[in-house]
Amino acid sequence: MDNQIDYQSQIPFWRDERVLRIAAQVISAVVVIGALVWVTLNVLRAAEQRGLSLGFDFMNSTAGFPIGESDIPYDPSRSFAYAFTVGVLNTLKVSILGIFLATILGTLVGIARLSTNWLVRRIALAFIEIHRNIPLLVLLFLWYRGVFLKLPRVQDSIQWPGPIYINQRGLFMTWPRLNPNGIIFVIAAILSLILAIAAFIYLRRLRELTGRSTYFGLVSLAILIVLPVVGWFLAGGRPFTLEFPELSGFNFAGGVHMTPEFTALLVGLVTYTAAFIAEVVRAGIQAVSRGQLEAARAVGLSYSQILGLIIFPQAMRVIIPPLISQYLNLTKNSSLAFFIGYPELFFIGKTTINQAGRAVQVILLIMAVYLSLSLITSAILNFYNRRIQIVER
């Protein structure tokens, strides 16, 4: 025993585990902080040397450049900060829509990949392999230059019932526009939706607890119909007017318009990310042990019941973490829109760099926005992930 203690005390410090542990921490801290300080000093020094200003005041001066697509009213007399906001909103629009659609498509393809039908399985495999193995930028160019710009000219638009017009300037759809009093109806509709969901959850819990039939489906359906109807009459008749796209001058006016740049980006991002999500979903499903599936079959559940009640709740635990990184990828990849002319964050940032001559500040802003978007996305999904984890006792 004594020998052992002596042996311990004789260990030289560079082999002492406690010293090493602290040393490792200190060294990594010094390296990281040192690198940061060095980069910062270098930027400051270079800026001073070349007489560049590093303030953010320029964000309030007039932008001057036009932006093709904006969901908030924009004109070139607005400030750089406002133009930047337009870019952030455009990024958000394509990312949120993209994440939503990619999740649906990815899940479907992932399930199809495991289908017992040979053809369906092979089609899903081909879809995944094509999209996973071609760079996204190439896919975007293919969609934009190869598909959307090759559509007919405005004068020879394809007309679908609706009417929907499709041409190389985009997709023009009939769209309901809100009347002045229409807002009452919209509020009623949203209220009814919230109430219906609340009633659905509460009444179903009640049935689970008491075993009595509570007609939760019927009750919530009734709420969903009655409230909007009341809102309709309160609004004094039709809350919406249908706006039809019409050819006037160079382009269609009225209705809703999806540009080929936006559509190409959305389609490209959705298909590309869906291929990865499909693999994530497949892995998640296959991670559920086969016994579960067999047991579910044995008690006579249908295939959709097996998927919905047995497989997915368990698969989700495997799916969510890699899914987060796919969502983040989609958001970050949207910056490739730079090359196909969709004015998102990075595009407008680059234009701002040029027109305002402030590279360092704008790049910092761009990084800060992408970082915040990514952190918010992971925070939301991590919260969800904790909710669905097995509660360990």
Binding site: A35, R50, P76, G249, F347, K350, I353
Partner: protein
């Protein structure tokens, strides 16, 4: 064992970073290469700045004007040490900056770089062309990544304030529109509501917005960072019109599948003085680039050409002999140039008129464009240079 390795790795990483930091200094502070080699590289630039601030004070006080601002001559020295000229240019615009069959950089803007290289280094081939997109050129100049930016850049007050120093206008241009002939458009008012293709990060983009706002007209812009995408989208019919400097439109039109199906409108909405620029900080380098370009312009005025430059060295006209370095002085010694620097530049690329005609003259390699404002002043144009005296 593994712990020991970890420790060694950590030390190795720290060492690597320290070395990288020392090694990177000359690159990250390109305007100050001697400072880095002297060891105290971190403090040197700070001193430089102080000196720059002090100089005007001394000057206004009537003191000795011998103190040169920091940075004077440093860019020149950098070019000479490196032995080649890094020229911010382009490879995608016929006439101004493009490639010949063998992949050699040619064009009006590139020849300006060759002239500078010939004058400073004695070799017109000692250039390295960095192809830059419209929105990369400002930062490339600000950071001193290029020695000279000769990439049909419009000279504006804010660019002069932010980017660097603009030398002398080499091409007077104006912004116009190109439309398909069958659209029947011939005025800017008829473009109301049109979709217009434009390159992002250009003065063109700003002019377009101003011109339409001024006239109360509506338009939808479609912007791309690279020129090829802009005209690709226009040719596909995605835009009703495309806008840029007229010289660029002429260049692009010559490359369309059917050039006769497009027409450049007879409207000019802006002044676009295209000017080579240099990074801020080195007045000597700024002067050198100016003087070389003046040489090209004066050579045309005085009738000195690529072919006759050698015999012109013994011309009877004193102005010519002085400019070509046979007699007298035009300030070459102060700029650190050989007396025949201008002669070398002319021997390499010819005079202004020859460069113009090579690419855009009646027999031009790229296309034909009336000289118009770009005639020498003796022929009623705006191309005018101070004398070499």
């Amino acid at each position: 064992m593994s712990r020991k390795l970890y420790f060694i790795f950590s030390v190795a990483i720290v060492l690597a970073l320290v070395l990288a930091a020392c090694g990177a200094s000359p690159d990250t502070a390109p305007t100050n290469p001697p400072a880095a080699s002297s060891g105290g590289g971190d403090e040197q630039p700070v001193q430089t700045v102080i000196v720059t601030v002090e100089v005007p004070v001394e000057g206004s006080g009537g003191g000795d004007g011998s103190a040169l601002p920091g940075g004077y001559g440093e860019l020149t020295q950098r070019v000479k040490d490196r032995g080649n000229l890094i020229c911010g240019g382009r490879t995608d615009l016929a006439g101004f900056g493009y490639l010949d069959e063998s992949g050699r950089n040619i064009g009006f803007d590139i020849d300006v770089c060759r002239a500078i290289a010939a004058a400073v280094l004695g070799d017109p081939e000692a250039i390295e062309v960095r192809a830059l997109t419209a929105d990369e050129r400002g930062p490339a100049l600000q950071t001193g990544e290029v020695d000279v930016l000769s990439r049909n850049v419009t000279w504006t007050s804010s660019r002069d304030a932010q980017w660097g120093n603009f030398t002398i206008v080499t091409f007077y241009d104006g912004q116009g529109f190109i439309v398909p002939v069958d659209s029947g458009i011939d005025s800017i008012e008829q473009l109301d509501g049109a979709t217009i293709c434009v390159t992002s990060g250009t003065t063109t983009e700003l002019n377009l917005a101003d011109a339409f706002r001024q006239r109360g007209l509506e338009f939808t812009p479609l912007t791309f960072a690279d020129t090829a995408s802009v005209y690709g989208a226009y040719e596909e019919g995605r835009c009703d019109a495309a806008t840029s400097d007229k010289s660029q439109l002429a260049a692009v039109q010559s490359g369309f599948t059917d050039p006769s199906a497009h027409t450049i409108l007879d409207i000019t909405i802006s002044k676009e003085p295209l000017t080579p620029a240099v990074p801020s900080g080195d007045d000597q380098w700024f002067d050198i680039v100016k003087v070389v370009v003046w040489g090209l312009i004066n050579a045309e005025e005085l009738g000195v050409t690529q072919a006759n430059v050698e015999e012109m060295k013994n011309s009877e006209i004193i102005d010519i002999r002085r400019m070509l370095g046979t007699e007298g002085d035009w300030g070459q010694a102060d700029l650190g140039l050989p007396p025949d620097a201008i002669a070398q530049a002319i021997a390499a690329v010819g005079n202004y008129g020859e460069i113009y005609d090579r690419y855009m003259g009646p027999e031009g390699d790229a296309f034909t464009l009336e000289r118009g404002l770009n005639e020498n002043w003796t022929n009623g144009g705006l191309i005018y240079a101070p004398p070499h005296k």
